[in-house]
Amino acid sequence: MSRGRLMARTVFVLMAVWSLGTAPARAQDAPVRGGTVVAAIVSDPGHLNPAITTSGATHAASELLYNGLLGRDERGEPVPELAESWQIEQGGTVYRFRLRDGVRWHDGTPFTAADVKFTFEEVLVKYHARTRASMGAVLAGIEAPDDRTVVFRFKQPYAPLLYQLDATEAPIVARHVYQGTDPQTNPANGNPIGTGPFKLVSYTKGTEIRLVRNPTYFKAGLPHLDGLVMRIIPDLAVQVLALENGEVDFLWELPGPQQARLKGDPRFRAARTGYHPGGSNCIMTMSFNLDRPILKDLRVRQAVAHALDRQAFLTQILFGDGKVAAAPISSEIPWAHAAGLALPRPDRAEAEKLLDGAGWKKEGEGPRTARGVPGVADGTRLSIEFLHFPTFTKYGELVRQQLGAVGIGVVLKPLEPAVFAPTVFKDRNFDSNVISYCNGPDPEIGVRRMYHSSQIGPAPFTNAAAYRNARVDALFDEASRTVERDKRTRLYRQIQELVVQELPYFWLVETVSTRAWAARCAGFKAWTGHFAEEAFCRR
């Protein structure tokens, strides 16, 4: 064979091999129009209005029916959605948004600025917990000077606004549907009209929610899918079985124990994210009821921190999916997360020493006994009542195990969410608990409520520890008014240093979700509630 022909053949073979190797990727990259995706959700959403609740179940099922003014990209930065451009004026006190033209509601009515004004004033600040907690106090007013302009005016500079305008934090609902009605009982909650990429076909309670493509969606060419079905499968293990069996294409939550198995399987893909429709950037946090005499002594709280081996929580409960919390603010908000803080390290000897010093003596088997502890009668056993959602039982068990080793007795009290919230926040009837506190996209949204003394009260998932520190309050107030990011970083750092010293809470692990889907599909966006907006499936 001549050299030329050998060369040609080699090149040909190489090209064939190369194209074979990359062919699947290329076919995968080119979106295919059509098909239906079945996604599994854990519980019945109850209704399909995400503007009146922060419930994860409702948001997972309904966000694809709506839009926010902005969306968020993979890094969490704002991108245009219903708003095509924006300006920040007067040092962050005024935000002006220009809305897209030609957007229609699912029933054909044109979308206007009046919808935005109505949604914020009549729905979000009244019923959406995070919006109410963050914007409620500082929003001066919203104007809609024309159909395509919305202006937010604040009482003081407000930094986080752009991060809480997506469909999770501020979905826009239709004024012509909800005006003059009670948003909580309006029947449209079961038969929603939104602007989103999908429209509702049917909602069969307890079984599934069927969606179909919105043919007049304002993003040209989207969505690729003809339809989307949300199937309610309460058991995560069964969800995985359904995925493997081909009955389901997308899981919101791939349980830890199954991840190693599925990640090696070429039939499936997975992606990790700190975002969850119920709230992002969540940290499993142990609260100490500072009103209880047992926990008033800082040494006891420090002893608890030293007795806990948080790495064990990460390995045994999360199967490595997550991070040990290195600071009170999640590492998923890198500019606010304080690196290098000295959280108490696992040290049983130190824990025992602290407890002895605080007056809790080891006398025989079982929990320690009080000898000279202020506010506690001599002879009382050191026992902590630990409240938790039943889904967090493992946390309780590990806490009990690890604290038991240094002589702290733990009594577990599982409580359903409906009962947990009033017991902890209204009645304050607990010693300690574990809560998944979600920081949200900005500390102003999900962190302030944990530490500010004004947030002690019956509203659920606020300042459970009843922590009062005037300096911390002042720092938070200043951070609320500040817009420059560098300055905010410094302020939040000071806050974190203070609370780490005082330990009103102990931050266990940062949780992430792992989404999983069949490899024949692609384009899922794990970091947002609009997970299927750009998804497509082959075959």
Binding site: L236, V240, P257, R261, Q316, P390, Q401, L412, K413, P414
Partner: protein, 280 residues
Amino acid sequence: MPGWIPASDINRRIWRSRAGRAGVLLTGGLLAAALVAAHVGPPDPFASVGPPLSAPTLSHPMGTDDLGRDLLSGVAHGTRTSLVLAVIVSMLTGIIGVMVGALAAWEGGTLDDLLMRVTEFVQVVPRFFLAVLVIALFGPGLERLALLLAVTSWPWIARVVRAEALSLKRREFVEAARALGAGGPRILLREVLPNLLPPVLVVVSLNAAGVILIEAGLSFLGLGDPDVVSLGYLANNAQRFLRVAWWMAAFPGAAIAAAVLGLNLLGDGLNDALNPRFES
């Protein structure tokens, strides 16, 4: 029941019945194993003693769960809890059932009618769902469950006791005792009750099997007592790990089946022993 067998013969007859032999061996064996293992193995079934999710090995014959807890210890403690629960409930139901049934049979008349009405009513109440409701409203707890099950499981025993007592009432030895001047309660205590024991035991053992299944079912729904290791608790725990750690579900499930089977066989054996036509 046709025929009448001296109480002293019962033991021998149970042993002769194949079912009875199996039942005694299985139940007795389980109980013994549970009691022994609970003392010999790691004292606290909640303690982490090994690598999590490891398959059965020599050091951990039933493997470990997701928190590294030894499953053999868990199953032993769980079996003990389930069996103890079954025994306690059985004793309570036995006492209530015997009292109600004997009283109804002995006194007769309107008291009998009334007691039978009450019995019918309690029999209709679905125990499992009542337990679900009560735990939802009052919270979980093993003592609470035991009490609830005791208070709802006695009708069957009461009926059997009443039927037995009625037939015994007419027997010659009772007539004889009465002729000799013995009073009602005395006859009841010394002549009738001892002969009620075998049929009651049959029902009680079958009932006990049901108690174990109910506890397992409740724990599976997440309504079990979180501070106690029970077989249902272990089965519930295993649900998430079905594909990754089959041993977490297999052994507790097998233990439940074994306990229920053993108690059923025991009941069968007792039944056989009481049936005068039965010859092994």
